[in-house]
Every structure is written in structure tokens, then in C-alpha cells.
Symmetry: C2
């Protein structure tokens, strides 16, 4: 039986709820027990665990000395925020080496309820040391003190051992889970849109190019060093041989030689010509990037033309929505922007649903339901990690999730939003960016609307056509397009969304913006053949993590942040 939702809950809660007893869920495919299944107990009752034999593994967070040279280790295995207290007697192992932050230990022992200890509900008394992965504290870059996030960012491979980043990864994983469940439950198909593309969704913007020209050039250079190209003299010599062989053929023909003799001579001439052609071709080879008529010769690149990393899977998703009704993608997208802000990454993940038979209002309903679903999911499944973020980073983050989960989103048009901002400017509010109809709302405007004015998520819709992409449907006013953005407290724009336009307008818009029509012909086909209203949106996944955790820097919201100068 493939479906195992009770098992799913069991794994999340750390107990097998099916039989009602406080048994401990062993990790599958391993002989250890996740620490979560010992210390996270929804019934707050650890008494049934006393006396049970378990084996656990994890990394030492802190250690303190006990009596008779024994040690209490705080062991974390990432399955949850909390640590299991592990008690090791002096005779077990070199305790000095063991009691260092970052040491990996696998131990077997018996669970006990420490009397009178309010902090520790349950601890493990070690009977067997199975494995110690030591650490030289002189080298280990993450000592036990609390470290600034900017500092741990330099140790991106070790930072998941910190409380903050491990909690971020658990929140990300939960949000990814919620995303798949939300869309799959609602009949969306999960479609993996392509990463490398010859056409560009936005028709502009900073894109990363994908190429094999550099490596081909290097290979060629090495090859030319090993087998140097023919010299001019080589080519001249080959030409001379062609002439000679030609003369022989002419002579034989004029002297009416036998067919066989002429045939042999012609064959020799042909070989000489082939040899010359090869030499000439090889002598033309230039090391480095191939050029043709002063431009880079992309016909020699892997895909035969300039190819870029995707900035959005939306156009391809539309093809799927216009066949399969509902599709969504969850994948990486790329922008080669050199902005060093706390809100931009060169590589980030996007969730993009697309629905046929749906208009902008359906789209708003879907976006609102999806954001609420994620908030509810975190409140329900990630209580402990959310408490941690509330305590350490943003005391309002849990209340924010509750508010967003339970409050209907405000919905206002772009025109209403601008009018409202102009009004508050009149009343003395100062913005860095000037407000007038036609501007792209900046982050400060968005955050004012959602954080100050409405104090809840705000959907702004019907944007001026000139500030949005070519593929959006023009409204009857001819000035605005059926697009919407979802603004939320803490991050501003969380979701951006167009409703798709119809064919004729589409072609005009592509031409107006000077985009290469041939590259977009496939896209126009979707409008020519069996077209229908469809709409969708894009949610920046790392923005959602920022929103949930209250972290200020998006670089702490993704496993391996990529920004200008950093891809290590």
C-alpha cells in the first residue's frame, strides 16, 4: 500500500500513533533512532520511554562535566531543533575528545528520566560507543557560542549544523511539502519546465548564458599544440600535387589512354583534392572562441544558438495548461543581477501554477488559498522551529502566520493603491521614491500598504500595461493589464501574476517590444490553436521562507546562496 498518511504523521510527530503506545519510531534503513522520535512527544509524557534501549547518532552541540569525570553531551541530529542529553561515564572513551562542539557520535544505551531535572525530560545513558568522528577545536570554525549569520555564511557547508540554518532547512522542506500537497490535491500536474532555453520569457533582463564554446576552445587549443595546423608550405605542396595529378589526367585523356588508366589517375586526383581540402580546413582553424563575420559563431555552440538559463517557466507552463488544464512547476530560476541587496539572489526557486479556464479572480483565489495553506501547514507541523524564530529573530512571526492564515486578503486595484499612497504623501508621509500613476510600486510602497495601511496581505491588481510583460491581457480601459501582485508584511511582493492575453494582441505586443518573433512562434501557436483564458502566478520560494521565519537576509533562506562573485 503506497499511501501512508498515518505513517507520515507518525514520522512527523516522532511516534507511531496507530497503536497508541509510546513506542519509538526507528529510522528506516538504519539502526539508529531519530532524536525527534525521542524528545518530541505531543502528549508531553516521556515516562513510557524509560528503560528502552536505543541507538542514536548526532553532532555534539555543547558538553558539561558531571561527577566522577563523566560528561553530559547535548546531541543534535537535525531531525528536530532540540537536543538529546547523553550521559557518558568516564570509562567509556576519551571524554576530552568527545566533549567538543561538532564531534559526531553514535551511541547505544538506555533511556532514563532524570529526576528533578526540568530542562531534560529524558536522557540517554550510554552503554556503548559505536562511533566517534572527532573535531580539532583549533580548526573547527563554528564554536559553541552563538554566531552572527554573516559569519556562518562563510561556512556554507557547515552552517546547517547551526540551530538557525537547520531550522531554515526544515521550514523549507515543510513549505515544499505543503506546496506539492496543495497543488496535487487540487488536480494540478507537477511539470518540470526546462532550465536551458533559446528564448527568454521576459524579453529582457540580465540572463546567464549557457555555453560549451570556452571548453571546446580550450580542447582545440590543446589539440593544436599536440597536432599543429599545416603550414602555408604544406598547403602549397598539396596544391602542387593536385596540379600534377590533374596534368596526368589531362595527358592520359589527350593521349586516349585506356579507360582503366584514366580511371586510376582520376581516383588519385580525387584523393589529392580531398587531402588539400582537409589541410585547408585545418589551416583555417583558429584557437579560442569561434567567430564568423566578426561575431561569435553560435552555430558551433552546443545548442547551435545563444542559450540561456530560465528566468521563469511560465511560457512553457502555458503550453501544459492549454493541454492538461492545470499544471505547476517548482524549480530553479536565474537572474544575473549584480544587485547586492538582502532580497536578491542569482539563483532562486519559484513555484509557478498555471490554470486554463481561469480568470484573474480565480487566480487571486488560488494565490490566497495557497499562501494560507502554507501558513496553516507551518503552524501545524513546525511549531518548535517557529517558536525558535519568534524567540531569536522576529517575535511577531507566529502571529503573522496566524493572521495571514485567518484573514481575507485585501484586494485593491493599482489605481486605488496609487491614489491611497498619494493621499498619505499629502498627509506628510515621506517615501524615497516619488508616487504617481504609472510607476512600478517600490518595496517601500508595497510594505506601507501591507504593513501600515491594511496590516494584512494585499492583492494589487490591474497594473499599467507599460510596466508589465508582453503576455498579459489588456483590460477594457486599454491602459491596464489583468495582472496582480500579492503583498505581505515583512517582504512586500510575494507573488506576481498575469492573466494571459489573446493571440492578436500578443503578436502586436511582441512586435512592439522588438522581440524576435520566430523564437516565439511556438508560443503564438498556443493562441492560434484552441486558445482559452488561462492564468497563473509565480511565488518566490525564498521570499516565502523570509516571510515565515522573519529572517532579514535572503542568503540565509536558501541552502547555497548564489550572488555576484560567489558560487562556491
Amino acid at each position: 500500500m503506497a499511501n501512508g498518511d498515518s505513517k507520515l504523521l507518525g514520522a512527523q510527530l516522532g511516534v507511531l500513533t496507530s497503536n497508541g503506545t509510546a513506542s519509538i519510531a526507528k529510522a528506516e534503513f538504519s539502526d539508529i533512532v531519530p532524536i525527534r522520535s525521542i524528545i518530541v512527544r505531543p502528549d508531553d509524557d516521556w515516562s513510557a520511554l524509560a528503560g528502552q534501549q536505543v541507538r542514536v547518532g548526532g553532532w555534539v552541540k555543547t558538553a558539561r562535566k558531571g561527577s566522577k569525570g563523566s560528561r553530559f553531551l547535548q546531541l543534535n541530529d537535525g531531525s528536530c531543533l532540540g537536543n538529546l542529553q547523553v550521559f557518558v561515564e568516564a570509562d567509556k572513551v576519551d571524554l576530552g575528545q568527545l566533549a567538543r562542539t561538532g564531534v559526531c557520535v553514535v551511541v547505544g544505551g538506555v533511556l532514563k528520566l532524570p529526576p528533578g531535572d526540568k530542562e531534560q525530560k529524558v536522557e540517554l545513558k550510554v552503554e556503548k560507543m559505536v562511533h566517534v568522528g572527532p573535531v580539532d577545536p583549533a580548526d573547527y570554525p563554528l564554536p559553541k557560542t552563538s554566531l552572527p549569520l554573516e559569519f556562518v555564511r562563510n561556512f556554507v557547508h557547515l552552517r546547517p549544523r547551526t540551530c538557525t540554518i537547520s531550522a531554515v532547512i526544515r521550514i523549507r522542506s515543510a513549505l515544499a511539502h505543503a506546496t506539492h500537497i496543495f497543488f496535487l490535491e487540487r488536480g494540478f500536474l507537477n511539470v518540470q519546465t526546462p532550465i536551458m532555453n533559446c528564448s527568454d520569457c521576459e524579453g529582457a533582463g540580465e540572463m546567464f548564458q549557457v555555453t560549451t564554446l570556452f571548453s571546446e576552445g580550450e580542447k582545440l587549443e590543446k589539440d593544436l599544440l599536440k597536432n599543429p595546423p599545416p603550414s602555408e608550405a604544406d598547403v602549397e605542396a598539396a596544391k602542387f600535387i593536385v596540379k600534377e595529378k590533374g596534368d596526368v589526367v589531362a595527358l592520359l585523356k589527350s593521349s586516349k589512354a585506356s579507360k582503366m588508366d584514366i580511371g586510376d589517375a582520376v581516383a588519385e586526383l580525387k584523393r589529392a583534392k580531398e587531402n588539400l581540402w582537409k589541410l585547408e580546413e585545418r589551416s583555417k582553424i583558429q584557437p579560442g572562441i569561434p567567430h564568423k563575420e566578426g561575431k561569435i559563431d553560435y552555430t558551433r555552440d552546443f545548442f547551435g544558438r545563444p542559450t540561456f538559463l530560465t528566468v521563469s517557466g511560465q511560457l512553457q507552463l502555458e503550453a501544459y495548461a492549454c493541454s492538461l488544464s492545470k499544471a505547476y512547476s517548482f524549480g530553479p530560476t536565474f537572474r544575473a543581477e549584480k544587485s547586492h541587496t538582502t532580497r536578491h539572489l542569482a539563483e532562486f526557486w519559484m513555484v509557478e501554477p498555471e490554470m486554463a479556464f481561469a480568470e484573474l479572480e480565480d487566480d487571486m483565489n488560488c494565490a490566497e488559498a495557497y499562501v494560507k495553506f502554507m501558513c496553516e501547514w507551518l503552524l501545524e507541523k513546525c511549531h518548535e522551529d517557529m517558536e525558535f524564530f519568534a524567540e531569536r529573530y522576529d517575535k511577531s512571526c507566529i502571529d503573522r502566520l496566524r493572521m495571514v492564515a485567518s484573514t481575507p486578503f485585501e484586494r485593491i486595484t493599482y489605481t486605488e493603491a496609487v491614489d491611497l499612497l498619494i493621499e498619505v504623501v499629502k498627509n506628510g508621509k515621506e517615501f524615497e521614491n516619488h508616487v504617481e500613476w504609472g510607476i512600478d510600486l517600490s518595496s517601500e510602497h508595497e510594505r506601507y500598504l501591507t504593513e501600515v495601511k491594511f496590516q494584512k496581505p494585499v492583492i494589487v491588481y490591474n497594473y499599467p500595461k507599460d510596466i508589465k510583460a508582453f503576455y498579459m491581457r489588456l483590460n477594457d480601459d486599454s491602459e491596464t493589464v489583468a495582472a496582480m501582485d500579492v503583498l505581505v508584511p515583512k517582504v512586500g511582493e510575494l507573488i506576481g501574476a498575469p492573466e494571459q492575453v489573446h493571440l492578436i494582441l500578443q503578436s502586436i505586443l511582441i512586435l512592439e517590444r522588438g522581440l524576435p518573433v520566430d523564437l516565439y512562434q511556438w508560443y503564438l501557436d498556443l493562441r492560434r490553436f484552441g486558445t482559452v483564458k488561462h492564468s497563473g502566478f509565480g511565488l518566490g520560494f525564498e521570499r516565502m521562507v523570509m516571510f515565515a521565519t522573519g529572517l532579514d537576509n535572503i542568503k540565509d533562506c536558501i541552502p547555497n546562496p548564489r550572488i555576484e562573485g560567489r558560487a562556491d
Copy 2:
């Protein structure tokens, strides 16, 4: 309540099972009803649907004439393989235009049980035409006849409207769903590993390079056309001014002028020098790709060094496993291989789990359980699509899923596998590739083992160290490494998997293979600091789709195939 598994089942079965009546599940966020929820009924009873008013949308597959000029349309919306028969009377609309393959229609009407019609369990009698998205049959490339897959591959944006590709997309979506459920239920965290990297997992292989040097070069070229660089005369003139200003300062100083006058003159000299410096810098600018000492100057590239698309997220996943115990990724990977086979893509998706505290045997157990889980999932959730593939492409595909789901996988060492192959060669079996200890098993060997010899999945483990990557653990025999591959009928290698090695050996291996140690220092850190045994594997997602569907060409198993010369 975020968890909604009963809703999930409901959506999949097309009925709301909670109340037990045969109500129809409306699409959320839209006023239409998915066709699946009308025609797919596990109880085979459509009688309760008669008389219900619904609105549906979809694309016409075929049409036939009824009495009095009416039409019967076969409508498909991608929610399932089957079509809904839609009956339109002559007065409703231009029926000639409507009854063409590819036309999109949205219609409202009443469900009826056609008497005596065995093919159609239920049909829709149209009362209202809501929308028609026409098709010009002269242009539409996918007529109603059955089309070869090679042909529809040229219309990658329209091919999800074919039965085969829409079924592939549903199978893919189900497999992705199964993957997330399998790992999340078992306590793995979903980690999105980076796509752009300065270091390369395998240390070799054809990789795509990511760059902004071409676009920067183009921008510069345009800029230089608009603002030409300074001429030599400009620079000379600026030098002359610097000299003049210098002379003035010298004169003032020697004539003991006032401090203020000297100060002014010095300031002027400084400005002149700055101007000269700017001119000199600008005159040095060269259009095109920046070079330094004859080589491409990657310090000017976006990440400051050569950067490549990932070939595997495994090394980064290890960092997460060595912090959080269990992690998995599901993302795109890239190989710039120019092989035009039916089994290779330049862009494909990989599922990669990684577990700390786990050895090769745990890894085998996990891989076997995962593959079985996916097979069970498809048998349970994708019955209709699997029947389609069995009928059209591979009559054994359902039996194969059943066999894999229920049969323990054979487990043999590489040495045993080679002995066995040598034995069958002795008995007259011919392979294209020679068999001896030390070879990398080729596809024909793998398929012989799993399809002919054992007729079930085979796990081959303990491979010769020289044919595997640097990061694998050496066995006690010093000849083989703790690695395993899972071979399945139809595709051969489905899963490849190493068990990770310890620090010291690791460094030696990196050095032995001539890899740049500084780029791998972070990776070695994982072995230096709190190391532990860990293992994982990689499953090629498109291979799994081939295995499940029985399709012969991997290009039909992914939404947008990328191969040499094709990224459109």
C-alpha cells in the same frame, strides 16, 4: 486544517468520498468540472450523475455527425486519459468550426446516460456554449490520426495534447508525488541543492559553462560605438595638462607662494591626474571577451571564476546529511554530451537521497524500497494511463511494475556479475563489448543480467575503484569500492550509488586524480569535522519514466527534451 488526505484521494478518484454520494468534484478556483471527476468512477456507476448540471472545458479530440446536423464531440481536458462525449445540437454554434481536432470549447449542460451505448457511460448535452477557441485545420500540425512520436517531438508545445504525452506527464507527476511522499514520510528533508557551481562533482565529464562574458562583451561593444574610446591624441593632451599643472605647483612652491594658492594648484593637478587616469583606463578597454595574459579573464565573469551547471547535487547533499542526518534533492542536472542515443539528454532530473549513519546495505534497502514504492504508487493511482501504455507501447509494462513491486531484488557483487557474464560468453552468448574484470558494465551486460539471467531487478555492488568517482569508500580488498547500481528490466541502470569514504583516503584520491584541492576543501572539511559513515544514491527520473511506461526514447519522457542542437 492543512492536512487533507481525504481530499487528495477525492481529487484523484474524481469523487468526494467523504459523503459517499456520487457528487461531482468541481475544480477549485474555476467554474468548470474536471472531466476526470465525471468519467472516472471507481464504482462503475454513473446513474447518479444523470440530470446534473455541469460546465466543462477541454480540447476536441474527434467529432462525428449526429442526426439533424448535430455533433458528438470527444472532449479531453488532460485531467485523465478518457474523453467526455459532448452532444451539441445544430442551432448552438457554427458546428463545422467546432468539430475540428484541437478546438478548445467550454460548455455548460446536463449529464445524461446514453441508452444502449456501451462505449459511453455518460455524456453531456450542451445547453450553453461559453467559449470556442478555434483551429484552422490547414495549419494545425496534429490532426486526429495517430502520429509517430518522432513527428510530434517537433511540436513540443502542442504534443501534451496527444494521448501519449499527456499520459507521460500524468505518470511523471505521480512519480514526483510518490518521491516526495516516500522520502518525507521517512524523515528525509527536501533540500534544493545549487545548480551553478565553481567545483564539479565528478571532476571530469562534459559540463555546461555559465557565463555573462558574452553579454557583457556585447554591451561594451555597443557602448564603445556610442562613446568611442579616447584617441591617443586625447591621452597626450591630458598628459600635457598634467605636466602644465605640475609645473605650476613646482613654480608656486619654489616662489614660496601662499599655502592657499599652492593648495588650489595641487587640487587642480589632482583633478588633471584623475582625468588622465580615467582616459587611460578607457583607452585600454577592448571589445569582446576579456583576456589576461593570453587567457580568458574569468575574474570579470559573474562569479569571478569558471562556473558550471551541476552534474549532481551529491557533494552538497552530503553536507546536509552530515548535519541533518537525512536529506534528498529532486532537481535538474546537466551533461553536455553529444551522444545522440535514445537514452541520453543534456538536461534531466535526478532524485538524490543521502543518509548519515548508513552503510551500503542500508542504501540498498532504501533504493529497493523506493523503487517498489513508486511501482505500487503507479499501479494504485495511474491504472488508466498504465493500461494505455500496455495497449499501445509495451504489453508487459504493468506486469513489470507488479513484478518489481513484489519481488525481492537480486543482490550480487560486481565480481560475481562479471564471472557470470564470462560464463555465458563461454556458452556461446555474444556481446558487443568484451567482458573481463575491471570493465564498466555496458548497457547490454546490465540488461542481460536483469532481463535474461535473473528476470527481476538486480543490485550490483562493490565495483572496481578505477571505474568509479573519487569519493567512494574503498573496501578491505583495496580493489573495490562500496558502490552499487540498481539494474531493472527495460532500461538497465536505474540507480547509481556510492557509500562515502573517510577523510584521509578522500584527500589522497582527490590528489591522485589531479583535482584542484582548494575547490574541494569545503568537502574535505566534512570529513575532518565530525565525520561519519553516510551513503546515498541517484535515480535518473526520466529513466524511471521509461521503465514505467515502456517508451523507447527518453525524449518522450520529459516535457521539453534538450539535446545537442535543440533547446527550443
